[in-house]
């Protein structure tokens, strides 16, 4: 249990943070500081003091209070997160969100105990404007585009119709419950019930992400749940907005029942909200892509544009009462491929890293605040209401998923199995969005009941469902994510199959998804890419990109190796080239690869951990932690002054997309320690002419062949002890 020694440290730091946060607003306590020092408060009239104008030591908390407290909260959140990862077996059992909520509860309790008043709650504004966008942006940026669009119909089906089903079901049923218990719940009107239904029915992307990322279910399932949670925001926004509309109409028409016009208007609003968000996002995404085309002269601020434009799209659509989440996701998805092509490697890494960081912090803060906000004075409890809400949420979601899937399976190529359906229904976690929305309701006598109920539902879903879903997934043997290393072959053959399918669909006359995909790709190539990507950045084919990516990673492998290799290679007599190939092979086996196609949803790693069985890190302590170990996330230009690697470092330092000139033929590197010619070729800005490398190529080629063969045999060897 040596791993537990940081615990006391972290706990003490957290307690210090707690105590600091319990400082009452305004003046700091007089007994805090040492009385003998020249202790002065800025607010005390200086004429009272001793004539010496200079004080040796003074404390002015008021001046820095706001940012100080914010930083302390963030610090607390991050330390809690750290502690979570250091805490032995806990991560395997309890998802991180639960632990964070518990920490929040603890802190809330401490603050309540010290101050005897409610701790600060999460204001809806702060949540929606500051905490939610980074998470959604991160999710949108790393969204697996292809998978998403293939399943888009199903996702929309679940998101829109499923949420409507849930809203109406829960709202009406709750109204029925209220009618049945008129004594305590009599003053809750249908309007309120519907409103409540609309905010509690929506699945929360933050909670879903944080639980599902640790589960590694198959990608289709993941994208269905996740996509649904993102897109149902459109309906939720309408839901809360429609209630306003409904109120308007109700007072206008004085009718107790819903008229057809209301429904029609509501329906139109859903469409408008969703599409509006989409177009806002598209607009900003394209503008961002265009801007990034010109950033090569000021590469340092290129990442900033990504964030600014995304945030701007979010704010704009919120301003227009469109769905901000849809906007920001669309923006991210749109600009990603163009921005990635346009900006340098370093900027790309910065973007990704910052996204992860901000979303991590946001998520942690949200959960901690959820916990803190639970400790309040204003709870109102009502057994029938709370229990029936819980039950209804589960029941309606289950039936909704069953019904919708039964319909949609007829149209899908790959049916959604019953197990998947169960996970979809069970994985509908509620989170902080509901919580913030409930605070936005206009005040009415039973509002406190709603708040309490919302908190209970959130806690229930996050704790109970969050903790049990992982064992259930294993119990039900849900199809898990395939952890595959992409090979160039796979990419090529998959592409071939796509083309083939397009052709066949053409022949059969079936306008399937391949047809549209083909069309879009052509449009993309002809117009968008030409316009939005700088001339010297144009990479024209995903095959080439994958190939370059793979080569680049191999080259990364060269730098990461040094100490580990020698133990393995001592048993055979080796030529220098073989040594290097072995180094590279072993480094590849010991390092995780960033799979371009795998969704990097994890908050904790930038490069999703894709260990196949042959690639095991020596640091594994626990199976569930493998996905979590932050591991060489920045592999960029390590600060090594090692002689033989300094050259490769320098080479890597210059690796930027701007040098991957497609028209340039691959140049064989003249460095002896590298047998990966193509990637390094891209880094050489000072390219010697192709002529002088021709005689080298046959030799290099045989070396490559030999190297790769050894690669295969080494991989086989490494499999044995595992």
């Amino acid at each position: 249990m040596a791993a537990l020694w940081p615990f006391p440290l972290l706990i003490s730091e957290s307690l210090w943070a707690c105590l600091a946060l319990t400082l009452p607003d305004g003046y700091p306590e007089p007994h805090n500081g040492p009385p003998t020092a020249g202790f002065n408060y800025s607010h005390v009239d200086p004429s009272v003091d001793l004539p010496s104008a200079l004080r040796v030591f003074s404390l002015d908390y008021h001046h820095v209070q706001a940012p100080f407290e914010i930083v302390l909260w963030i610090m607390l959140a991050s330390l809690a997160k750290l502690g979570f990862h250091w805490s032995g077996r806990v991560p395997a059992i309890v998802p991180e969100s639960c632990v964070l909520i518990m920490v929040g509860l603890l802190v809330g309790g401490v603050i309540y105990g010290v101050r005897h008043s409610a701790p600060p709650t999460l204001s809806a504004d702060a949540f929606f404007l500051f905490l939610l966008p980074p998470i959604v942006l991160d999710a949108g940026y790393f969204l697996p585009g292809r998978l998403f669009f293939e399943n888009l119909g199903t996702i929309l089906w679940y998101a829109v119709l499923g949420t409507l089903w849930n809203v109406l079901g829960i709202g009406l049923s709750l109204y029925g419950v209220c009618l049945l218990a008129p004594s305590s719940l009599g003053d809750i009107s249908l309007l309120h019930c519907l409103l409540f239904g609309s905010l509690i029915a929506a699945v929360d992307p933050v909670a879903v992400l944080s639980v599902f990322q640790e589960m590694h279910v198959n990608e289709q399932l993941h994208i269905l749940v996740f996509g649904e949670s993102l897109l149902n925001d459109a309906v939720t926004v309408v839901g809360t907005g429609a209630a306003v509309l409904y109120k308007l109409f109700e007072s206008f028409l004085r009718l107790p029942s819903v008229t057809g016009l209301d429904v029609l208007v509501g329906g139109c609003r859903v469409v408008v909200v969703g599409l509006g968000g989409l177009f806002v996002g598209l607009f900003f995404g394209l503008v961002a892509a265009l801007t990034s085309r010109f950033t090569f002269r000021a590469q340092v601020i290129a990442p900033l544009f990504v964030f600014l434009y995304s945030y701007l799209s979010y704010l704009t659509s919120e301003m227009l009462h469109f769905s901000g989440i849809v906007a920001i996701v669309t923006c991210a998805v749109t600009m990603k491929q163009y921005v990635e092509a346009n900006v340098s490697e370093r900027s790309n890494t910065s973007i990704q890293y910052f996204l992860k960081m901000w979303s991590s912090v946001s998520e942690t803060l949200i959960f901690i605040f959820l916990g803190v906000s639970t400790i309040q004075d204003i709870h109102m409890w009502s057994w029938p209401f709370v229990c029936s809400t819980l039950l209804l949420c589960l029941v309606w979601r289950a039936t909704g998923v069953l019904l919708l899937t039964a319909v949609v399976n007829k149209l899908r190529r790959n049916a959604v199995t019953f197990r998947d359906q169960f996970i979809i229904a069970y994985g509908g976690l509620r989170g902080a969005i509901c919580f913030s929305l409930v605070f936005l309701i206009d005040d009415f006598p039973k509002k406190r009941l709603f708040i309490t109920t919302t908190i209970v539902v959130i806690l229930f879903t996050v704790f109970v469902q969050g903790m049990t879903i992982k064992p259930l997934v294993e119990l039900l043997d849900v199809k898990r994510k395939k952890r595959a290393l992409p090979t160039v072959s796979e990419e090529i053959h998959s592409r071939l199959l796509d083309h083939l399918l397009s052709g066949i669909e053409d022949v059969v006359g079936y306008w399937g998804q391949h047809y549209w995909k083909d069309r879009f790709e052509q449009f993309n190539k002809k117009y968008l890419r030409r316009f939005l990507i700088g001339e010297h950045h144009q990479t024209h084919s995903s095959i080439l990109r994958v190939y370059q990516e793979v080569e680049r990673r191999e080259q990364q492998g060269v730098e990461e190796t040094p100490p580990v290799v020698d133990a393995h290679s001592s048993s055979r007599p080796l030529l220098p080239e073989e040594m290097d190939s072995i180094r590279r092979i072993l480094s590849r086996n010991l390092q995780n690869f960033n799979n371009k196609q795998m969704p990097a949803y994890s908050r904790h790693t930038l490069h999703q951990d894709l260990t196949t069985d042959k690639m095991r890190k020596p640091l594994h302590r626990h199976q569930s932690l493998t996905e979590r170990c932050t591991y060489h996330t920045i592999t960029y230009c390590p600060q090594r002054v090692d002689g033989e690697f300094s050259k490769s470092c320098r080479g890597r330092a210059r690796l930027s997309r701007s040098h991957t000139v497609c028209s340039a033929s691959p140049r064989w590197s003249e460095r002896p320690d590298s047998l990966v010619p193509a990637a390094l070729n891209h880094t050489q800005p000072s390219d010697p002419g192709p002529a002088e490398e021709e005689p080298d190529s046959p030799q290099r080629r045989t070396q490559i062949e030999r190297a790769t063969k050894k690669q295969l045999s080494f991989i086989l060897e490494n499999e044995k002890p595992l």
């Binding site: 053959h493 399918l501 033929s665």
Partner: protein, 187 residues
């Protein structure tokens, strides 16, 4: 699905095709009408098809049709490869030969797209041809060559610098071919 179509296709032919390919009756009649609509004009079936697809890869598909003497039976036989694999098929008595839409046959179909000279091996040149078609004209031959080399190395286990069918199967074992190579034919 006009009456004209169904009179040209005899019942026993439909039965034969049904047994061989596994399509249902209505699917066969529907596809027959599609076939006849494509078969108009002097050039016949092939001539019409070449105009439809826009990518050169699709023309490859057309070439694959040529193997089966482009009549309706051949058409159906090719399309049978793309039927989705259904679970209930596994319960029936296994037919004497493997059904056309089994994974191996699907892969064989894809393999034949590369292997034009039918020597059961994908040589480097054949691979290059396919790559060139898929990737477009803006990539230099050298780069394409290195990609082709890499592809062959990844797959080649017996060192003959070609990809045999077995090696091809092995490379694609992690790819979900059954789902990728399936079209939902409307009933």
């Amino acid at each position: 699905m006009g009456s004209r179509a169904s009179t040209l296709l005899r019942e026993e032919e439909i039965e034969e095709i049904k047994k061989e390919t596994g399509f249902s009756h209505s699917q066969i009649t529907r596809l027959y009408s599609r076939f006849t609509s494509l078969d108009k004009g002097e050039n016949g079936f092939l001539g019409r098809i070449i105009k439809i697809p826009e990518s050169p890869m699709c023309r490859r598909v057309v070439v694959s049709f040529r193997e089966d003497q482009v009549n309706f039976k051949g058409f159906m036989r090719t399309l049978a490869h793309f039927r989705p694999i259904e679970d209930n098929e596994k319960n029936k008595n296994p037919p004497t030969s493997e059904p056309l839409n089994s994974r191996t046959n699907k892969l064989l179909f894809a393999f034949r797209l590369y292997d034009l000279d039918r020597d059961d091996k994908i040589s480097r040149d054949e691979l290059l041809q396919v790559l060139r078609m898929m990737v477009g004209v803006n990539i230099s031959d050298d780069q394409l060559g290195s990609i082709a080399d890499r592809t062959i190395q990844e797959a080649d286990t017996n060192g003959d610098n070609c990809i045999s069918f077995q090696e091809f199967i092995k490379v694609l074992e992690k790819v979900d071919v059954e789902q990728k190579m399936s079209i939902r034919f409307l009933h």
